[in-house]
Subunit: 388 residues, 2 copies
């Protein structure tokens, strides 16, 4: 059970002829509506309570209109609540770079399909890291765009104030072609001139991971004029993560509670636990988290004026082994969250590029920019690849 695609009738919809993406194939995470096919959301009971969509999701339609051909819907962690890519209903999609390791999630099947070469690009979603983490674990290019930039029509919600549509590719050129279409803006030729190296994030990662990213950081430094070290999160990455782990699951609970009440759906224990504990989060804790979110947004606005980017490890370590116990996974999940929370918390765009390898296992290097600077980050990814 390692297929990246959901079971059911095959999905294949040809793209428009003579578009900018003609000749490319893509897959869509099973959170995106494809007309005539149920949206499964990674849960066996979701589709039963929701009608089969009659229209494609905005992002799917956009890629089809641009000429890309849809070749499948991909496995996801249940209702996108997961960061490792282990779904007991659908199986764990193969991480071809590390077959005994998880692919990362929740956009596990999309990352797996692209990494295996089964399609050129794939749509994912990123609320708390669900594109960036599998991009890091599978050695791919992946983007979490500026929150609110893309039209999310037809994409299953989880925590709307953090939800984004993202995508994966194996090479920067393809990544840039798709990004132009989905961002609706050409990739600029000029590059940013200032780089912030987030020393707290590098210090938080495993030493081997930070060391493995060293060559890419030096290469990135060479591309820009000014380089300085600073803290991403002065209160602590763990404090930001705590705020995000308060806001996001509570919002997810609000999203799913009526369905849960009506249907008593089946979940893996870990997913149900997240929702149950979310339902018990106190108002006072949510208020504190909202204040911390405002402070984090202000911090990134100050840290990342136009022309400045920041780099950090996407994940603190490469993909963990498959099938670990919950008690073993919990601290790993928490550490991943500490390097991912700035995305959902502040909404700034982030691109993860293949950054290096630890014992042959990929880890990603992330670059972040000001809200709206998505294409600048893609331009950096292209320049980094060109300079290989």
């Amino acid at each position: 059970m390692t297929s990246p695609f959901v079971s059911g009738p095959p999905v294949r919809i040809a793209g428009a002829p003579r578009g900018p993406l003609t000749g490319l194939t893509f897959a869509a995470k099973d959170l995106f509506d494809v007309a005539g096919h149920p949206t499964g959301g990674g849960n066996p009971d979701w589709a039963r309570q929701h009608p089969v969509p009659t229209r494609h999701a905005w992002a799917v339609q956009r890629l089809l209109d641009a000429g890309a051909t849809l070749i499948g819907k991909t496995v996801t962690d249940e209702v996108s609540l997961g960061i490792l890519g282990e779904n007991p209903f659908d199986g764990t999609p193969l991480n071809p770079k590390a077959p005994d390791r998880v692919p990362g999630g929740s956009s596990s099947g999309s990352a797996s399909a692209v990494a295996q070469g089964l399609c050129d690009v794939a749509l994912g979603t990123d609320t708390g890291g669900s594109v960036r983490v599998p991009a890091s674990f599978c050695g791919l290019y992946g983007i979490r765009p500026t929150h609110g930039r893309l039209d999310l029509t037809g994409m299953m919600a989880q925590a709307p104030s953090s939800d984004t549509t993202g995508w994966f590719a194996r090479d920067a050129k393809t990544f840039a072609r798709v990004s132009e279409v989905l961002l609706g803006e050409p990739i600029p030729a000029s590059l940013p001139t200032r780089l912030v190296v987030a020393v707290d994030a590098f210090g938080f990662a495993d030493a081997e991971t930070a060391a493995a990213l060293g060559p890419m950081v030096r290469k990135l430094s060479a591309l820009v004029k000014e380089v300085r070290e600073d803290l991403l999160a002065p209160p602590g990455l763990s404090v930001w993560a705590r705020a995000q782990r308060t806001l996001q699951p509570y919002e997810a609970w609000l999203t799913f509670k009526d369905w849960i009440d009506r249907d008593n759906p089946r979940f893996a224990f870990s997913v149900a636990r997240t929702l149950v504990l979310a339902s018990t989060i106190a108002e006072s804790e949510r208020q504190w988290a909202a204040m911390m979110r405002a402070e984090a947004c202000a911090r990134l606005a100050w840290l990342l004026p136009p022309g400045t980017i920041l780099c950090m490890p996407t994940t603190p370590f490469p993909a963990p082994p498959k099938g670990l116990s919950l008690a073993t996974l919990e601290p790993l999940r928490a550490r991943i969250g500490c390097l991912a929370s700035q995305g959902g918390l502040t909404g700034v765009p982030q691109v993860s590029l293949p950054g290096g390898a630890v014992d042959g296992l990929p880890v990603g290097l992330s670059i972040l920019g000001a809200r709206g600077s998505d294409t600048v980050l893609v331009a950096v990814a292209k320049a980094m690849e060109a300079g290989r």
Copy 2:
């Protein structure tokens, strides 16, 4: 999906020739080991982590040795955590007395199979009401024996300080035959001489249910010399229920947490919620509940000396409709718990007999006695049926 039997290869094991139960057929809840068949426990992930048993459970072997023939394993609420009989993996067994209603649980399939006449008797388990409630909802005889009386070898545990093996039958004579075998003691000819009518329990039940049980209470009163009204639970049935809802789920959490940690099993949301919230119960709350349990045991020892029985409604109402929302079910579950908690809390034996009907739906009348007086309660059930 209304079969009371679990899917898989058919189970049929002939009983010994010329035993006291020769000619009877029985089924066993899928919490009892049957050699060569996986014990499913109502959960799709339980069997995977547990070996196929090589020996029959004690109760199964006892019935086979006495001549009864095993004809199937029956559906149960997941890991016996449920009181209504709705299992999203295996379906909801038919309640033939009320086809649009739940059968009650967790021994749902056992009650359904007996009520449908598919077998003469069936083994269930009762930790917090799992035999008594389906007996009430399906119009059957059902017993929760004195805690600790029967050998529970080969029966899947939930909360060991409350777990019991119980059984169902459609008529009192068959019920008595099986009870003699499983209790290892003849059913006495003499009847108790004092009856306590638990006015708090009758007052707690729906008025229609209390009224429907009236004729059976009068008949029972006529069988004994002295009848008096008293409180079952002076602190409040809801206070006893709170203690039981503290002790039992926490103990269930201890039973299942290693498996959950290792396997991250799938559960219906409601079952996962019970376990998650159980894992957060404070030590101080458990200590209080343990004190209340000791007081409840003392209360029943005082209220029920040998020769005295108590009667009460088994459930506060007949079977609720199938498919209600969790928010609608929660207060119903809580009310059922208020009339069931004395069993798990104190360990006294309790027999539920067909007690009456509300709008054609069965409700049970329960009789309770001192610890060890199980056969006396069965004798009362026989006398009540004979006097019909």
